[in-house]
């Protein structure tokens, strides 16, 4: 292979480029990015960057040594099509990029609330520009309503509270993070918000946003009107796969791949938030949006693309892992909460926000959560990785 094109210049794209070089590929690497910026780290956008503690330079994912990547960066114009037969990628500005293999790493974008695009004071959070715009409105005393108590919502609420805003979080499910953590541990996160003076409205949907030019409030499905100066919409992410609809690639909730990231098009792999790798455990493609997956999986997919070369063909991916910093609590989770039929607190307490709890199916541990329990959590995560099939 002489040229490999990586479509997407965020975490997964960068780690794919690094994996190509680490695994001995010495041909041309082209990296296409829709933002003008070089790869940057997104998790701090809802935390330290939003709080103004660190600047954009601190988010840079590349180190000086990455000049060794010798990549050709095409930034500022998104890819709009991929040819199944020639693997040619066409960009919005008309640039055509031919190559012998393609790595798709186009990520996901924040899901928006329909009909709110032109309403001032309504924000999503995915990019540096999003975070800068939101930060300019997080003024002490302002009333912030956060729609969605997932990772983005919970972290924005915590950051905004620290900045002195009056914060209310609305969540349609029974608790924050009910999907990834289950309702029982989600309730512990509820307690965390409440302990810090953030109002939480769970189990109720949003009817509409009120305001003509600028948002004035959020009307809930039960008729409650929450006055708001600023609204953050944190209702999940949508994979950036529309540009592939005519490519012939199998698309579902993400680009469908085998268990090592190969798409249905020969010579094309997909990694990161846009990719739904075959999950052996579930028996179907499963899209994973976690940072750690975007960092770890490119090496597996690149090995599959390059065909070995000293790397095991059957490298296993780790169990899902994520963390979330909210207030002074670091939440860490690994495994599959949905598989569990029980959760047991093994250390610390919910009220102390320092628990370690193990999820089990029967007697078998399937997931673990820690709150400010990094050492114990790390041991459990290792044991689970060794024991749980992915």
């Amino acid at each position: 292979m002489k040229t490999i094109t990586i479509v997407g210049a965020s975490l997964a794209g960068l780690y794919a480029a690094q994996a190509l070089r680490a695994q001995g590929y010495d041909g041309e690497v082209v990296v296409i990015g829709n933002e003008l910026r070089r790869p940057y780290d997104r998790p701090p956008l809802s935390k330290d960057f939003l709080a103004g503690k660190i600047d954009a330079d601190a988010l840079n994912l590349e180190s000086a040594g990455d000049d060794d990547l010798q990549a050709n960066w095409l930034l500022g114009s998104p890819a709009v099509s991929l040819s199944t037969t020639t693997r040619e990628v066409v960009l919005a500005d008309g640039t055509r990029v031919g190559s012998d293999a393609v790595v798709i790493a186009t990520g996901a974008r924040a899901r928006e609330l329909p009909g709110t695009a032109n309403l001032a004071g309504v924000h999503v959070l995915r990019t540096i520009d999003d975070a800068v715009a939101l930060r300019s409105e997080l003024l002490p005393g302002a009333r912030l309503v956060v729609i969605g108590a997932g990772f983005i919502g919970g972290e924005v609420a915590a950051t905004a509270k620290t900045l002195g805003l009056d914060v209310t979080v609305v969540e349609a499910m029974a608790s924050p993070l009910a999907g990834p953590l289950g309702v029982e541990m989600g309730a512990v996160v509820s307690g965390l918000h409440e302990a810090h003076g953030v109002a939480l409205r769970c189990g109720v949907g949003v009817q509409r946003l009120v305001g003509s030019e600028r948002v004035e409030g959020v009307e809930l499905a039960d008729g409650t009107l929450l006055p708001a100066d600023v609204v953050v919409v944190g209702i999940g992410a949508v994979p950036n796969i529309e540009w592939l609809v005519n490519s012939g690639a199998a698309l579902g909730n993400g680009i469908e791949c085998d268990h090592q990231g190969r798409t249905s098009i020969p010579g094309v792999i997909a990694v990161g938030d846009c990719a739904a790798w075959h999950d052996v455990r579930l028996g179907r493609p499963h899209r994973v949006e976690h940072w750690t997956g975007a960092m770890e999986r490119p090496a597996v997919a690149v090995a599959a693309l390059l065909g070995g070369g000293g790397w095991s063909e059957d490298r296993q991916v780790n169990i899902p892992y994520f963390w979330s910093d909210q207030y002074d609590v670091r939440i860490q989770f690994a495994g599959h909460a949905a598989d569990a039929d029980s959760v047991t607190v093994e250390e610390g307490t919910a009220e102390g926000h320092n628990l370690l709890a193990v999820y089990r199916r029967g007697d078998v541990p399937v997931a673990v959560i820690g709150m400010n329990q990094p050492r114990l959590f790390g041991r459990w995560r290792r044991q689970l990785n060794a024991a749980v099939s992915v």
Binding site: P44, S63, M295, R330
Partner: protein, 116 residues
């Protein structure tokens, strides 16, 4: 020079965080060597003393960056900058650490004491 603890108080495979500024982490490897490095991962705020010790390598408990305890160099990303190493002496069966006079590579947004 900081007198950390009696050698017997830090069994092999264990780690100890010492609250100086910035904090340091002291490791006793399974092979019996003792190392001291800055405790805060150079990538983001996490305590390496809470990490996973294997050989003379420490894995950060947050994002799994790995550092060589002997040299401080990054063995695995996402960390980009090496961790500062300190000199360990054993005196009268106590672990003593001579702090490096190099600048620490603290993660963005993390400051300690007078430096903030």
């Amino acid at each position: 020079m900081i007198r950390v603890c009696p050698l017997s108080a830090l069994p092999r495979g264990e780690a100890l965080r010492v609250d100086v500024e910035p904090p340091i982490a002291v490791f006793h490897t399974e092979e019996g060597e003792i190392f001291a490095v800055d405790d805060t991962c150079t990538h983001q705020d996490a305590s390496l003393a809470d990490g996973w010790l294997e050989g003379c390598e420490i894995e950060c408990p947050l994002h799994a960056s790995k550092f060589n305890l002997r040299t401080g160099e990054v063995d695995a990303p996402p960390a980009k900058r090496s961790i500062r190493t300190h000199t360990v002496h054993i005196e009268d069966d106590s672990i003593c650490v001579e702090l490096s006079d190099e600048q620490p590579n603290l993660p963005p947004g993390v400051t300690f004491g007078a430096k903030s």
